[in-house]
């Protein structure tokens, strides 16, 4: 939105062009303004007295609306490469390594608890410049992010999924997805909401409905919705995942979804199925990167066996839960 548009277009047309306007006006209780006038003039005409007490004038509000619309400008930055330039481990031994990641790459991070998986994710989140305990440097499109831009950087380019996350809103699954899509100022939210909802159901194995409240979702359904939503609606080009394996979701489907996208995905995990599914895996030890392994033939064979075991596990779980034995319903008492 430009200032010219703000002063030229009638408010009604402005809202049509920038749907988030309506939400902005709603937040300030200004939906009843005269839509046939440009926003600044409509404000001059009908600005409620209460705004004076908030020290908000008509021109302040006009400036705010423009600033609000330009405040997510760097949310859609394209990241064509992310490079992890090695620092040192907990004993100060240099890592002597550099890992280059491109959109579409899915990399797993493995290593025992305390080996430094979370620190590596944290380094990426804050665009480290040799100023975190690992002394690593993270380069985006080949360069470091200057400090002034790092401040709000992490919240824009990096999305996260961890085991600790919960839904704290009490809304339906559909309202939740709509609210998220709207917050990225998408004008037509219905198609993405539908696709995201379908994907979540595919991942969860157990169907839920669009009007199911978030608070009523099972652990697996909630996790499935979070994954689908983060991959499909969040525009962040980098996705950091910390241990989602115990979530009761279809992990193979989840990996498929992750690899289909154009995001750079880093996945810290103890689950061999997830670890081996990734194209590369970073082995961590004592806070440092010990090695980076490409998925090879042996990995793929192991992966096949694990997948079969996983399928057996899934189908037996389903059967047991449905009261079946040897594929037959045990019948009623």
């Amino acid at each position: 939105m430009t200032e010219d548009e703000l002063y030229r277009l009638p408010l009604g047309a402005l809202i049509e062009k920038y749907p988030a306007c309506r939400d902005f006006l709603k937040s300030y209780g200004l939906l009843t303004l005269d839509a046939s006038l440009p926003f600044p003039q409509a404000l001059e005409k009908d600005l409620p007295d209460s705004f004076r007490e908030m020290q908000l004038s008509a021109s302040d509000l006009a400036d705010l609306l423009v600033a609000f619309h330009t405040s997510d400008a760097d949310a859609h930055i394209r990241v064509s490469s992310l490079e992890i330039v090695g620092g040192s481990d907990k004993d100060g031994r240099p890592e002597n390594i550099s890992v280059m990641l491109c959109p579409g790459d899915v990399v797993s991070l493995v290593g025992p608890t305390g080996s430094g998986k979370s620190q590596l994710l944290a380094d990426i989140e804050c665009a480290a410049r040799a100023d975190t305990p690992s002394r690593r440097r993270i380069l985006f499109n080949g360069t470091e992010i200057p400090d002034a831009r790092r401040f709000s950087f992490g919240s824009r380019l990096v999305a996260q999924l961890t085991q600790n996350m919960n839904f704290v809103m009490d809304v339906s699954a559909e309202e939740f997805l709509e609210m998220h899509a709207l917050s990225w100022m998408l004008s037509d939210t219905a198609p993405i909401v539908d696709r995201c909802f379908e994907m979540a159901n595919r991942l969860s194995g157990e169907r839920f409905r669009k009007d199911t409240r978030l608070t009523r979702l099972s652990g697996g359904q909630a996790r499935a919705l979070m994954i689908a939503d983060t991959v499909m609606i969040s525009p962040a080009p980098i996705l950091l995942i910390d241990e989602i394996e115990n979530a009761g979701i279809d992990r193979l489907e989840a990996m498929k979804l992750l690899t289909q996208g154009k995001k750079i995905v880093l996945l810290a995990t103890h689950d061999p199925l997830l670890a081996l599914s990734a194209g590369r895996r970073i082995i961590l030890q004592n806070g440092g990167i010990r090695a980076v392994l490409e998925q090879d033939e042996t990995d793929r064979e192991n992966l096949k066996e694990l997948s079969e075991a996983d399928r057996l596990n899934t189908s037996l779980r389903q059967a047991v839960r449905n009261g079946e034995r040897n594929g037959k319903d045990v019948g009623n008492v």
Binding site: M54, D72, R150, S152, S155, F167, V168, D229
Partner: protein, 227 residues
């Protein structure tokens, strides 16, 4: 000396955020002055890590009047004591005001668990801050983080948004880096508040407890009700 004002609702994590930020600053002598209403429990937390702290209780006074009438002395005390950095910490009080001063960096700490509409409810505390620190973001879904950030942007699109984990301190060193950008000041005298404090001083401000039209004895503003 540099000064930073930090404010936010109760239990949003102000003290934890300040402690983590100060822990990542080296070679700077920092002091904290905590402004509170009736009680404050954070003094020990600061002292445990060797940070000099002074606590002021507004008690019967309007907390914001109390803040603005005492903060110049707090500043002078910190200068005379040889500190390089003074951080004032104020509890959220009634959300009517904000303890922010023109020319002094203002940090608002708000937590992601407090509900997605909280940014709208906070008023000048959020609207007039330069840096908004979001805590407890690790506990909610990515979507709720993003919607929360969006709701903050609606109210204050110009502020820098920073996520700090109050438990692990992750992100706090970036906040500390922003402290370093604060301008050097010699005195607060002559500066002005970003937002007015309440102008209506009535008998309730000075201890009146009885209810009834004859008691307020000062500026009042009656609500209008139908019928």
């Amino acid at each position: 000396m540099k000064m930073i004002t930090v404010a936010g609702p109760p239990s949003s994590g102000k003290t934890s955020v300040i402690l983590h930020a100060l822990a990542s600053i080296s070679g700077q002598k920092a002091a904290v002055v905590k402004f509170d209403c009736l009680t404050a429990v954070d003094k020990e937390q600061y002292e445990a890590v060797g940070i000099t702290v002074r606590v002021g209780y507004a008690g019967k006074l309007c907390p914001d009047h109390y803040f603005v009438t005492n903060v110049p002395d707090a500043f002078d005390w910190a200068v005379r004591s040889g500190f390089d950095l003074l951080i004032t910490e104020s509890a959220g009080l009634c959300n009517r005001c904000s303890p922010y001063i023109h020319g002094i960096p203002a940090v608002c700490v708000i937590d992601n668990l407090s509900g997605i509409h909280t940014p709208r409810k906070l008023g000048p505390l959020l609207r007039m801050a330069d840096v908004i620190v979001v805590t407890k973001a690790d506990l909610v879904s990515q979507a709720e983080r993003e919607v929360f950030a969006y709701n903050i942007r609606k109210m204050n699109p110009r502020a820098t948004l920073l996520r700090v984990n109050g438990m692990t301190g992750q992100g706090a060193f970036l906040l500390a880096k922003s402290f370093a950008l604060a301008p050097e000041k010699e005195t607060l005298s002559g500066l002005s508040l970003r937002f007015t404090t309440p102008s209506s001083v009535c008998a309730y401000c000075t201890g009146e407890k009885r209810i009834g039209l004859e008691y307020p004895l000062g500026m009042t503003r009656p609500m209008e009700f139908d019928l």
